[in-house]
């Protein structure tokens, strides 16, 4: 789960010749930095008077490249099981399974899950016409698609699908868009040219169908309810953090955070560590800096856990360099 804490853990583990595999529910690495504030400057990274969040993520990725980590992105770890030999298997929502000897949870605020609008029948049609993200736009070619939302993804998809789909309707509950002004401009232009339907100050209120979505009810700005035939509805209301599956892994949890031993950030389960925003201990500060420190101490402890009979000598990178693998 590689946000800053997880990425730097790969580096610290690499120095001790432990290879890592990274799994993140988001399609990109970087956690909150990439998802919440990619273009904001950070001022409290030692050595950088100011650094843009995405630049920091890119530098962290560059820093761990010599240690050749495996990546599974866009998949959420749902299950964590201990095998009889003490090793672990992690299984994702796409059934990818990763076998390992120690687990480092750097799950931050948890998984970013799509916000679900309060619409009658919404959950009944999940996977049957309702989806919260568009993985393959080609599947919508020649179809009638209803989009809802006012952020970047709603605008971007409205523009892209206006060329692919038979008809695109974008419903937005306000009349200003949060997304990029240029894209909002394009959406207004496409609507004026009749290439998509834009319904402002409107809300999708109910969905109907027989097994699969067939139509949606929309409450328009003048208080009327209109029925729209559509096979696909994609509500795009952004993502919101949820602790998610790691609640059920037998770890001690206190107020949505995993309690750890502040000596080495181990959890109550031997071989499972928690670093970064996801953990809690007396004096915890939710900072990138803290996650880095925790990653270094965790790696030393994980080494001793995995190789109890090997001696671990403390080495400076200045003296020994980086031995890639």
């Amino acid at each position: 789960m590689p946000a800053p804490a997880g990425l730097f853990a790969v580096f610290e583990a690499g120095l001790l010749k432990m290879r890592c595999h990274i799994i993140d529910a988001l399609p990109q690495v970087g956690g909150q930095l990439s998802e919440v504030y990619p273009q904001k400057p950070i001022y409290d990274i030692p050595g950088y008077p100011a650094i843009n969040a995405l630049d920091l993520v890119n530098k962290l990725v560059e820093q761990i490249t010599p240690f050749n980590p495996g990546y599974t992105l866009g998949e959420r770890v749902d299950l964590l099981e201990r095998l009889s030999d003490g090793s672990f298997v992690l299984i994702t929502n796409y059934q990818t399974s990763i076998h390992c000897r120690a687990v480092v949870i750097a799950g931050g605020l948890g998984c970013f899950e799509p916000r679900k609008p309060p619409i009658t029948g919404l959950e009944n049609f999940e996977g049957k016409g309702v989806s919260y993200m568009i993985r393959n736009p080609e599947k919508l070619r020649g179809r009638k698609v209803l989009l809802a939302g006012g952020g970047d993804s709603a605008l971007d998809w409205a523009v892209i699908l206006s060329e692919l789909a038979e008809r695109v309707v974008l419903v937005h509950r306000g009349d200003t868009f949060r997304g990029a002004p240029e894209t909002a401009g394009k959406v207004f232009a496409l609507a004026a040219a009749g290439q998509l339907d834009l319904l402002l100050n409107a809300n999708v209120v109910a969905l109907h169908g027989n097994g699969h979505l067939q139509s949606a009810e929309i409450l328009t700005h003048d208080g009327q309810t209109v029925k729209l035939t559509t096979e696909h509805f994609v509500p795009l209301f952004g993502l919101s953090p949820k602790l998610g599956p790691l609640e059920h892994w037998g770890l001690n949890i206190n107020k949505s955070a995993i309690t750890v031993n502040p000596e080495d950030f181990s959890t109550n389960q031997p071989g499972i560590y928690a670093i970064g925003d996801i953990n809690t201990y007396p004096g915890k500060l939710k900072l990138i800096l803290s996650g880095f420190h925790e990653a270094a101490l965790m790696a030393q402890s994980a080494f001793k856990y995995m190789y109890p009979h090997e001696r671990l000598s403390f080495k400076y990178t200045t003296v020994y360099g980086i031995n890639s693998f």
Binding site: V36, Y37, K116, P118, H172, G174, R178, K255
Partner: protein, 105 residues
Amino acid sequence: MIDIKVETANGSHLELKIDSDENRSLMEILSTHDIGMLAACGGLALCGTCHIMFKSGGDNLPPPTKDELAMLEMLPGAGANSRLSCQVMLSKKLNSSNIKVMPID
């Protein structure tokens, strides 16, 4: 002193008495109480996890900025009396208001 009645996301109630000269947002005050407010973006109007609804009061507050409105429009449970508490600065206008902290969708 600013007196605010708060209903938390899980339905419990508390009453806040705040020194009116504090130059802080309502989110900052609410986060210091153990009510599970996440305020994930720390007050940048980016996350919506500090969403509150005014049950009464709050009418004479400065109106939401464009950024706040745009975020509110993204929040499924938001209504006409919704605000992002990180964008509401403490002021005497909040006195005697009654708010509900909205659950994270």
